[in-house]
Point group: C2
Chain length 178, copies 2
């Protein structure tokens, strides 16, 4: 075997170590991504419907929402003690709340269902005008932890009840520094 200088051996060992670290970091990243990605293909039908419905909410797709709600649907923000009943009132509330919004999505970190009751845990990301939040003339950026449960009517593919639990204290803390 040809003799190897300590300097070359160092470079080799250093390179190997770097590769190991990189491999470890990539794996951690992949595992984290997998854990937080909702894989639509394997999801129960109830969760798929809930995800599509939430997308209609965050995309301001009022035409789709019109089909998801019935005259009996209930939209309840328990942490704000606000309830709206029937598609007309719910959609008119959502139109007001989402006026001028630039970015809006729900990053679902964990989701499960028990029959037609779907639970989504994650955080709502909101970027838009600060008027509604006491910050006129400013664009604000918020990530509000929240739990949204939807009770579905699977036969008619409708939302019987939408319930939000939102961490408004975190929102207030984020607003304070913007």
């Amino acid at each position: 075997m040809a003799p190897v200088s300590p300097r070359i051996r160092f470079k080799k060992e250093f390179k190997e170590l770097t590769m190991t670290i990189l491999r470890f970091l990539c794996l951690s990243f992949l595992l984290t991504s997998f854990a937080s990605t909702a894989k639509t293909g394997e999801m129960p039908a109830e969760q798929q419907l809930a995800v599509r419905y939430i997308q209609a909410v965050t995309d301001h797709d009022y035409q789709a929402l019109n089909r998801y709600y019935s005259r009996e649907s209930i939209f309840n923000d328990r942490t704000a003690s606000k309830t709206y009943t029937g598609r007309r009132h719910i959609i008119s509330f959502l139109r007001r709340a989402h006026q001028g919004v630039l970015e809006y999505n729900f990053n679902i970190e964990h989701m499960f269902n028990s029959g037609s009751l779907v639970v989504m845990i994650g955080s709502y990301h909101y970027k838009g005008p600060g008027e509604q939040f006491g910050k006129p003339g400013k664009i604000i950026d918020l990530a509000i932890p929240g739990v949204t449960t939807v009770k579905l009517d699977m036969d008619n593919r409708r939302v019987s009840k939408h319930e939000d639990l939102m961490d408004y204290q975190t929102m207030v803390d984020q607003l304070a520094v913007q």
Copy 2:
């Protein structure tokens, strides 16, 4: 300056790199711990009461639970569609459910409140006899993601309503391999 051999330099650089990695890992660990630790000192009174109540539940402290519930208290597992009303029925249910349990705790990952409504997101850890789960003669170990909300009566320091949303599918998956 005394000449330094490449072998010694390698050892020194390797040691420094190891220390940097260790420092990075320690820091990551600390940050993660801080993020998920509920610091009782800074917590709103409602969250403190909710945490103490949940501890009474997971510690099987029925004497304390007797004080937390009134005759009107409601215990509702929405994902199991089960409701118990009044301290007598709730405690008798908890006694049945927790028979023979070896370890039981709720690892709260995120908590927030809106007035007297407290939301706790985390996972319930359960270790105990498998009889109730169709695994007789076995000791089973479960970590069930869940959201528990408690509506408090702060004047009387009581729990008006306890509501659970549990990821029973994850529980079933965990049972399948035990």
